[in-house]
């Protein structure tokens, strides 16, 4: 693009137009944006609040935003009602192993597709992208049968092993970022006698780290939040993940409205790890997405 020159002018123009747009329009803009922010965040505030209320207090009106008293017993009740500890450990185990598998396999393939020469490269890559169009609905039953025949029902393998075969979308994302790494680095490393794996590991992985972090975060998110996989593969309580376990918690806590505190506490335990991850990796989540949006 030829936008090098007018950057300063543009900024000047922008501040001026914002200024000339006037205080009123700026306040209006902020009012709308803020109202939306409240709408987006309020349900989560209510989640935190309800999870800390004693039974009965959830129903009083006007509502208490800050519970009085703050009632932590919902969180301990949770572990009595359901093997919540198991759920958390299982979810972490599955997500971490999936991330590891996805990152390794996808980045290796992305490296080959980005920088190595082999026959059929373009066709294969095109085919890979085309499989992203396949709806999951059409693959789920035969995949289930494969897992069943392997004797993997009610184990964590069906939720972990497929990750070690990478993912088309992640290969695409990483290939984009690997192609941005200068060819010179590749060439000089080759002249120094480095092998392909060394170049991949010592140059492309470190330099492609931002994209790799994005992939890792999305893989973690996908695994942690997945309900369908655990729902069809896992049947015993102690093997379940948080997402699946939560759907059972509702049944176990009973239908009374008074039990809502415990259910919200359970939901909090599902949400908190993702919020922490989002807090640290916000930039990668948003930029990673923005990049695919633009190239889409």
């Amino acid at each position: 693009m030829i936008s090098e020159r007018p950057i300063e002018i543009v900024q000047e123009e922008r501040t001026r137009s914002a200024g000339s747009g006037g205080l009123v329009s700026r306040i209006a803009t902020h009012a709308i944006l803020l109202a939306m922010a409240v709408l987006m965040i309020f349900p989560l505030v209510w989640l935190v609040s309800t999870s800390l209320k004693s039974p009965g207090k959830q129903m009083i009106w006007p509502p208490q935003f800050i519970p009085n008293p703050v009632y932590f017993k919902n969180y301990s009740d949770l572990f009595v009602l359901a093997p919540m500890g198991n759920y958390l450990v299982n979810s972490f185990k599955i997500a971490v192993l999936s991330v590891f598998g996805v990152c390794f396999s996808s980045s290796l393939a992305a490296f080959a597709f980005a920088r190595m020469h082999f026959r059929g490269r373009e066709i294969l890559f095109g085919g890979l992208l085309a499989t992203m169009m396949l709806p999951g609905a059409v693959t789920i039953i035969p995949t289930f049968i494969i897992m069943k025949n392997l004797g993997w029902l009610n184990t964590h393998y069906p939720l972990i092993v497929p990750s070690f075969f990478g993912g088309a979308y992640f290969v695409f994302l990483l290939r984009q970022s690997f192609r941005a790494i200068p060819q010179d680095l590749f060439d000089s490393a080759t002249i120094d006698g480095a092998g392909f794996f060394q170049i991949y590991w010592k140059i492309f992985i470190p330099l492609g780290m931002p994209a790799l972090v994005t992939v890792a975060l999305f893989a973690f998110l996908g695994s942690w939040n997945d309900l369908f996989g655990p729902l069809i593969y896992l049947s015993s309580q102690e093997k379940m993940t948080v997402a699946l376990g939560l759907t059972y918690l509702r049944g176990r806590a009973g239908t009374g409205v008074g039990q809502v505190g415990v259910i919200m506490a359970g939901s909090m335990l599902g949400v908190i790890p993702m919020l922490i991850l989002y807090g640290f990796g916000q930039k990668y989540f948003i930029q990673g997405l923005a990049r695919t949006g633009l190239k889409g």
């Binding site: 007018p6 002018i9 123009e13 922008r14 501040t15 914002a18 700026r26 803009t29 902020h30 939306m36 987006m40 989560l44 209510w46 309800t50 129903m59 396999s105 996808s106 290796l108 080959a112 190595m116 020469h117 499989t131 169009m133 396949l134 709806p135 609905a137 059409v138 789920i140 039953i141 035969p142 289930f144 049968i145 497929p162 070690f164 075969f165 794996f197 998110l221 942690w224 939040n225 309900l227 369908f228 729902l231 069809i232 997402a243 699946l244 759907t247 409205v257 809502v260 919200m264 939901s267 909090m268 949400v271 993702m274 991850l277 989002y278 948003i286 997405l289 923005a290 949006g293 889409g296």
Partner: protein
């Protein structure tokens, strides 16, 4: 010379072998978890199969009954179409609006964007449980708030008139941050020069939006539309947790129907036929979108 070209050829062959080694896991994954299941599903859709006895060929019977005797299939399809349109189109309008607001020289824009994105990262199950509580007819915050202004709120998830609308509202809330981020990235990719030139020519804000933003943003709009439709058409978790498809099947979506057939009733053949119906719709929509996009999507000449 000959030795050089010989070693070059050798090196090429070596490179080829290593490259194949590197892509093997991904290629195998595609074959095992994508290609084979897609073909096998097609076969299974022509059989009756309960997982206990081997599949038995029945020809088109599954497909015929889907469209004749099976009331739930048509209902689920219809629900899914209404759900998909109800979620995707309003989401796109709202998120384009907010992305445009954020694409100005204003304070806290990154903060706003970060907040809108929060529901995208949170587990759908947890959010659906939360919304179940918000929608609770007697003590939920929505109806309690409505009551203070004298409106008696409906039983949101409990009535056939409101249930689908209610899950649509929640789905919009849960997904909008994703689209705002993508639209905003698209808007930021439009060079300011166009707007400057238009400003010199005396264009007003609406003209700038209609003549510059819309055409230049159309590839992004197209991307959001296609991924939105494909994704939403296959939604499961959110609605399953909120309503289990009820009341009276009013929120039964097609993937929920498939789940019930395959994994609760063990009707693998019939379920595969449903899967292929989804396949035809999703792939059909994608291809149709690509064809239509040639008319209305404007691709800037890129370097």
């Amino acid at each position: 010379m000959t030795q050089d070209s010989g070693s070059l050829k050798q090196r090429r062959r070596y490179e080829e072998r290593i490259a194949w080694l590197f892509i093997t896991p991904v290629v195998l994954g595609i074959l095992i978890f994508q290609i084979y299941p897609t073909i096998f599903s097609l076969y299974a859709s022509f059989t009756t199969w309960n997982l206990i006895t081997p599949p038995r060929w029945v020809g088109l019977e599954n497909y015929v009954s889907l469209f004749t005797t099976d009331r739930f299939f048509i209902k689920s399809m219809w629900n899914t179409i209404r759900y998909t349109l109800g979620v995707v189109l309003p989401s796109m309008a709202i998120s384009l609006f907010f992305a445009s607001l954020l694409n100005q020289n204003i304070r806290f824009k990154h903060g706003y964007r970060a907040i809108y994105f929060v529901p995208v990262v949170a587990p759908t199950v947890a959010l659906a449980l939360l919304w179940g509580w918000l929608y609770e007819p007697n003590f939920g915050i929505i109806n309690a708030t409505l009551a203070t202004v004298g409106i008696k709120g409906p039983s949101w998830l409990g009535t056939t008139t409101w249930a689908l609308r209610s899950v649509i509202i929640m789905a919009i809330w849960a997904g909008i941050g994703f689209q705002i981020v993508i639209f905003l990235a698209g808007l930021q990719g439009i060079s300011q020069e166009y707007y400057e030139a238009a400003a010199i020519d005396g264009a007003n804000a609406w003209q700038k939006f209609a003549k510059i933003t819309m055409p230049l943003l159309s590839p992004v709009t197209f991307f959001v539309l296609v991924t939105g439709v494909i994704g939403t058409f296959q939604d499961f978790s959110l609605v399953w947790v909120l309503t289990r498809g009820g009341p009276a099947g009013a929120t039964q979506l097609i993937v929920m129907y498939l789940y019930g057939l395959a994994f609760q009733l063990q009707k693998m053949g019939r379920a595969s036929a449903v899967a292929y119906a989804v396949f035809v719709v999703v792939v059909g929509l994608t291809i149709m979108n690509f064809i239509l996009s040639k008319r209305w999507v404007f691709y800037e000449e890129s370097n």
